[in-house]
Symmetry: C2
Subunit: 351 residues, 2 copies
Amino acid sequence: MDKIAIIGMGLIGGSIGLALNRANRGTLEVVGFDTEPKAAKRAVKLGAVSKATRHLNEAVGGANMVIIATPVLAIRETLEAIAGMLSPGCVVTDTGSTKEAIMTWAEEYLPKEVSFVGGHPMAGKETSGIDAADADLFKDARYVVIPGRTASQEAIEAVLNLVQLLGARNFFLDAFEHDSYVAAVSHLPIVLSAALVTAAAKSPSWREISKLASTGFRDATRLASGDPIMNLDICLTNRDGILYWIDETVRELLEYKKQIAAATTESGDEEAIDKLADTFANSWEIRERWLAHYESGRDDDGDSSRPETPGAGDLMGEMLMGRAIRDRYKKMSSLFERQQEDPRRRRLRRS
Amino acid sequence: MDKIAIIGMGLIGGSIGLALNRANRGTLEVVGFDTEPKAAKRAVKLGAVSKATRHLNEAVGGANMVIIATPVLAIRETLEAIAGMLSPGCVVTDTGSTKEAIMTWAEEYLPKEVSFVGGHPMAGKETSGIDAADADLFKDARYVVIPGRTASQEAIEAVLNLVQLLGARNFFLDAFEHDSYVAAVSHLPIVLSAALVTAAAKSPSWREISKLASTGFRDATRLASGDPIMNLDICLTNRDGILYWIDETVRELLEYKKQIAAATTESGDEEAIDKLADTFANSWEIRERWLAHYESGRDDDGDSSRPETPGAGDLMGEMLMGRAIRDRYKKMSSLFERQQEDPRRRRLRRS
């Protein structure tokens, strides 16, 4: 019987367990470990693991595969702790959000007889913890796979099989690329969400302000409700990427500020208004384009240069995009045409 | 038979129409107008209005109430256009996202014989347009009500009745307060979402980066998919509030940057790491607290001072918060205790 150990019975570890359990034909033993015994017990009850143990060596001893699904800094501790407990040929993988540090630690701590293959499923939820676990969490999600320098071909294939079993799509990247890319689209949004919350709450009027906060605020700040320890660990291990992207965002915000100020002078600068309109339209279009590809689960392997402003894009839309975004495109084009055609609207802007 | 005119058959106007229609006992005629005839036709088909017209005077003539649910600058045009078409005693209201400018325009354009009562329902959706309309859109949402200086008591009551019919909760504010408050929690998030999208897309690696974007990016950028014209109008009419909050956010982001940099020096500064942990924990807690009140639909009228760090808050949690947030509180406290108690974790941070 094959044995898989999952270290960390949170949202990610629990969801992997549930998916393994669903696919299990009685040939697999899945053992769970968590420093919090309650979480491990709960994982057994929910069917995420066949059994739980409070002893790391009982979890990983004799395991064919060890999946480490803890916050990033705890991955380091785990690698160090299990190094002497693993059977030769064991495949060790993880689900951490930053990869350069983890790949280095794996190389440093693990013996030559085991293979390390880093992993990062690009999926999440507002709620963390074992109770939020879901066998379908990874369905159609990207799953970054980064083989260690000495990983065997069999080990890589075992992790690819896991990715497939989870219903995810594997994506090979090197650790440096991974960390820079996720800094932009995963880690920066965490910092932005958290900063939006604390900036607003610093206002003396926060008590009243908070009563007006609604769906927009809720969604823009969702990531601020992520596990603070995970967010901390991400910042501690992806320093350069995050600092770079904070600077880029500040630069962009000041550009928006400049554009808004220019568009709202007393005299009214029509060119500046058009520029600001283009900025929002451009952002709208990039986001819709991304969303259409994200939701379809298909790659955007067409022309990835920055799109034209709406209206010009009809043909490009036909060629490169799915029906959903083409329809939204058309709707937005008509909005812009209305605006262009309505002389009163232009006049009002000027007054 | 009473007659209500809705100008603007988008998400908001359509949703109001659907709610009116649902409550209608055959004593109400609801007429819809939109500059885009297709939207108006669709509104009739969906049952949001009894009939549509392409002529403003046909829509508002003889109406007891006119609801203007267009982007902000189009509200100005509409007020100017309908001023001479209204019956004495007519109640005019709107759903615009900025209120100082709108209150001024209403006073400027509307005759003394009609009452203007500004309104702003704090509800929204990612998708705009009549097809996204939903009779329950405003259920439990705040609905800001700002009576014009000369509005009659009856007119105010009529709008409060509308708010009640929509299932929303009225909230009296003056226009200046409204605009400053929503700048923080509605308008700033729009600018942040849009800037996050355009900043990321400016990277030469955006094509690869975008493949790693997932739920976090999706939620943090949801507002960038709002109608660009609405976003533009908001910026053009709430300049001061938005510029102020961009500055506050930039300041906060640079503070996060400073804290992250200090926590990730080669030598490892434990105090700086703790400070960064506290920052994320503080943001987490403020957001959870807000969310618990938002979701419960109850006011946060307890102590609104900045919360203590988790762990100390158990009693306060018992007294002031609902069960859901108390449970989350406890979970987070135990996470923090684990972190504090684990000497290896501390050591690893330092190394």
